[in-house]
């Protein structure tokens, strides 16, 4: 039984992701929940690195781990919600949620395991995607190039910035 370095890294990353994802939604303190979310996001970035999408992994680290989690922590402290997590959930609701998620996860895993398209596909050798190609595709106007979505996303981010300032400012 030979385990290559990539496989070992993948198994460690998936263990981190699975454990921290479960802890994110089951822990009682919301600050801990945000911290476990941070570890899940780190694991996701590691999976992007493993797939050869290093630019995507870097974006994930910067935007999610650097931006969004900090935003969460600040807003948790601003709304004083770290003591508000001790509420009672009805037993029927808890059981039904657990049942829904368990049955749904089992169904999805059964479907992807019995699907034949995934088994016949031969895994490719993973090579790193060069940043030059990403940049050229992102600002090109030809087929399979993405200048229009790029501009739309920039307008969306501007609108969100203005909207966030307008909503959150003191009247």
């Amino acid at each position: 039984m030979n385990i290559t370095l990539l496989e070992a890294v993948f198994y460690v990353l998936s263990a981190i992701i699975a454990v921290c994802a479960v802890l994110t939604v089951t822990t009682g303190k919301i600050l801990r929940s945000a911290t476990y979310l941070l570890f899940v996001l780190f694991g996701t970035a590691g999976i992007y690195f493993l797939l050869g999408y290093t630019f995507l992994g870097a974006v994930q680290l910067m935007v999610y781990a650097g931006g969004i989690v900090v935003l969460y922590v600040f807003s948790i402290l601003l709304t004083r919600s770290d003591k508000d997590m001790r509420y009672k959930i009805g037993k029927a609701k808890l059981v039904s949620a657990l049942l829904t998620c368990g049955v749904g996860a089992a169904l999805v895993i059964f479907l992807i395991c019995t699907n034949t398209f995934a088994w016949t596909e031969i895994p490719q050798d993973i090579i790193e995607l060069p940043a030059h190609k990403i940049g050229m595709d992102l600002i090109g106007t030809g087929k399979y190039q993405y200048i229009l979505p790029f501009e739309v996303v920039s307008v969306l981010l501007l609108a969100c910035m203005i909207g966030g300032i307008l909503i959150a400012r003191k009247h």
């Binding site: 290559t4 990539l6 993948f10 998936s14 992701i17 699975a18 994802a21 994110t24 939604v25 919301i30 929940s33 945000a34 979310l37 899940v40 996001l41 996701t44 999976i47 493993l50 797939l51 050869g52 999408y53 995507l56 974006v59 999610y64 969004i68 969460y72 807003s75 948790i76 709304t79 919600s81 508000d84 997590m85 509420y87 959930i89 609701k93 949620a97 657990l98 998620c101 749904g104 996860a105 895993i109 992807i112 395991c113 995934a118 596909e121 895994p123 490719q124 993973i126 995607l129 990403i134 595709d137 399979y144 993405y146 979505p149 996303v153 910035m161 909207g163 966030g164 909503i167 959150a168």
Partner: protein, 103 residues
Amino acid sequence: MDIHILYYLIISTIMLFCGIYGFFTRKNLLALLISVELMLNATNINFAVFNRYLFPDALEGHFFTLFGIAIAAAETAVAIAIIINVYRNLKQILTDDITDLRG
């Protein structure tokens, strides 16, 4: 590279259903938003993995993940602005207590 595509899909399935479970059981608005982030991340992993394994010459899934991350960031910023404003006006953050719009 012998990691099969199924392993990635199973990991993202676990992540997605953790998010759904959190969305069902949490009552704090910020905890709900954290669950939504988990679900978005699971879909992003799926896009990247399908692109790398099934269509290694194309880049559609890669760019979809990139735009998905940008849209998730925008969504989080606006949602947190709204939640902070709700807290400032109503002094409540739990979904059970915010009932002003209930008919």
